[in-house]
């Protein structure tokens, strides 16, 4: 019974929204009930989804803290780091919910320029977030050195395409091919790299995109019909 309710909710919501994409907007209170229902669903389900997204953030945050709290409580390995995570979490939660700094009381935007949350964002979150991703620059240079080897025709094509795009985006690449005469200007590095992005890359990406679109449709149909395991469908939990 529980699984059936889950499937009914999923299928009903999905079918209503698919239908709403084709329904005309109601033009008054005397519009047909179905039209008004579909407009209501289209308008409100987006908002409800957004609210659920916030509850999902909350669920994730609380789960994370439960995990770290258990480590601290049980003095598990690296429990001191978990304590740091907990302290950071609670500090930001209190500062943000109480809107410390900024306009008086709970007035104004939580990200007001003089608010403590903005201070934490600019001083702690932003540099940490940016630097963690900046590490990838080093990894990609090391990966380029180790992985980009000409072993076969396929790897040569991959490497050539990457090198042309890399060189075409910098002046050095443009200088390398600046000497090419008028009829062959399309082979200049900067034009060639843009051509690779606009033509063969577009073809490949389009094939992937069409494949994904068909996959999305197939998966949506399977979910709506209850054929997908794990979502309240057959044999689903």
């Amino acid at each position: 019974m529980r699984r059936r309710i889950t499937q009914i909710i999923l299928s009903t919501v999905a079918l209503l929204l698919i239908a709403s994409a084709f329904a005309t907007r109601p033009s008054g209170d005397d519009a047909p009930v179905l039209t008004r229902l579909l407009a209501f669903c289209d308008q409100h389900f987006s908002v409800w989804f957004s609210v659920l997204a916030v509850f999902a953030f909350t669920l994730g945050g609380v789960n994370l803290m439960k995990t770290h709290w258990r480590k601290v409580r049980d003095r598990a390995a690296d429990w001191r780091y978990s304590l740091i995570t907990l302290v950071s979490f609670v500090t930001v939660l209190v500062v943000g919910l109480a809107k410390f700094g900024g306009p008086p009381g709970l007035q104004g935007d939580v990200t007001a320029p003089d608010g403590w949350l903005t201070g934490i964002f600019e001083t702690v979150l932003s540099p940490l977030h940016a630097t963690l991703y900046a590490l990838l620059a080093f990894y990609i240079s090391s990966a380029s050195f180790r992985a980009f080897r000409i072993r076969s025709t396929a790897s040569t094509i991959l490497l050539a395409s990457a090198l042309i795009v890399l060189l075409g985006r910098i002046p050095f690449g443009a200088t390398m091919t600046a000497w090419l005469p008028a009829p062959l200007t399309f082979l200049r590095m900067e034009d060639l790299s843009l051509w690779i992005l606009k033509v063969p890359n577009t073809a490949g990406q389009r094939a992937i995109m069409i494949g994904i679109a068909l996959g999305v449709v197939a998966m949506a149909m399977r979910l709506i019909m209850g054929a997908e395991k794990g979502q309240g469908g057959r044999s689903g939990e």
């Binding site: 529980r2 889950t6 999923l10 919501v13 409100h44 389900f45 987006s46 409800w48 989804f49 957004s50 609210v51 659920l52 509850f55 999902a56 909350t58 669920l59 609380v62 803290m65 690296d78 780091y81 740091i84 995570t85 302290v87 950071s88 500090t91 709970l106 007035q107 939580v110 990200t111 934490i120 001083t123 979150l125 932003s126 540099p127 940490l128 940016a130 630097t131 963690l132 590490l135 240079s141 396929a154 991959l158 395409s161 795009v165 033509v199 063969p200 890359n201 577009t202 073809a203 490949g204 094939a207 992937i208 069409i210 994904i212 679109a213 998966m219 949506a220 149909m221 979910l223 979502q231």
Partner: protein
């Protein structure tokens, strides 16, 4: 150009720089400084997302709608309107979602999950068919293979359109795994593979550009804001 070294006197700049260097220390090897920075990031970002989500979405879309007088808490000049009881539905679904935290009640969390999946499937199906299927086909063959302008044949656009058409079709053939890639069909699939390789090579080249830009951003802050070496 290099300016004279001018260390920042702003505490926040020093804290940012210190945290940046703690993360960069991982490049040498894993160490406690990196672990501390990583754990601070996890705690701060989780709470940040919750706080932002609460004030920007939960507060106006649920709390203020159900209790309009609450709008005066954040905006004293606000004129509360009538209550909107439709906000009870997402609140109820949200509370059901939080039931996942209690093992004996976690089955209740499947209903809001079903709502989320149904919404995504319902909205996404039509949009993906239109934008990523129909419009992509239109973009591939829409202008035809002999585009003209002012009576002139645009041979470069024509060649590009032909290459895109061949590449798209052969790429799609390559992804069809329900038929064996043999004979003529196999050769078309192989051509599709070659287009994919060019695509992935271009993606890699572009990705390198992206990662380097992130590194430049960090170094600009360290060398400029912190050490004052950049004019």
């Amino acid at each position: 150009m290099i300016a004279a070294v001018h260390l920042s006197t702003d505490l926040t700049v020093w804290v940012s720089a210190l945290l940046t260097l703690m993360v960069f220390s991982f490049l040498y090897r894993d160490n406690p400084f990196y672990k501390v920075a990583e754990h601070i990031f996890v705690g701060v970002s989780a709470a940040y997302w919750m706080v932002i989500g609460f004030w920007t979405t939960l507060w106006p879309q649920v709390i203020v709608k159900l209790l309009p007088a609450a709008s005066r808490v954040t905006s004293p000049e606000a004129t509360p309107g009538p209550a909107d009881l439709t906000a009870l539905a997402p609140l109820a679904l949200g509370l059901l979602m939080l039931c996942r935290l209690v093992p004996s009640w976690s089955w209740l969390g499947r209903w809001p999950t079903a709502f989320v999946i149904g919404t995504t499937a319902g909205y996404g199906l039509v949009r993906y068919i239109r934008s990523d299927f129909v419009y992509q086909i239109r973009a591939t063959v829409g202008r035809g293979l002999l585009p003209m302008a002012d009576g002139r044949w645009l041979w470069q656009e024509s060649l590009a359109a032909l290459v895109i058409l061949i590449g798209t079709l052969s790429g799609i053939v390559y992804f069809i795994n329900t038929r064996e890639h043999r004979g003529g069909y196999g050769r078309i699939a192989h051509l599709g593979l070659l287009f994919m390789l060019v695509t992935f090579g271009a993606s890699f080249g572009s990705a390198v550009m992206a990662r380097i830009a992130l590194l430049i951003g960090r170094f600009q802050e360290l060398l400029g804001d912190w050490l004052g070496l950049l004019s």
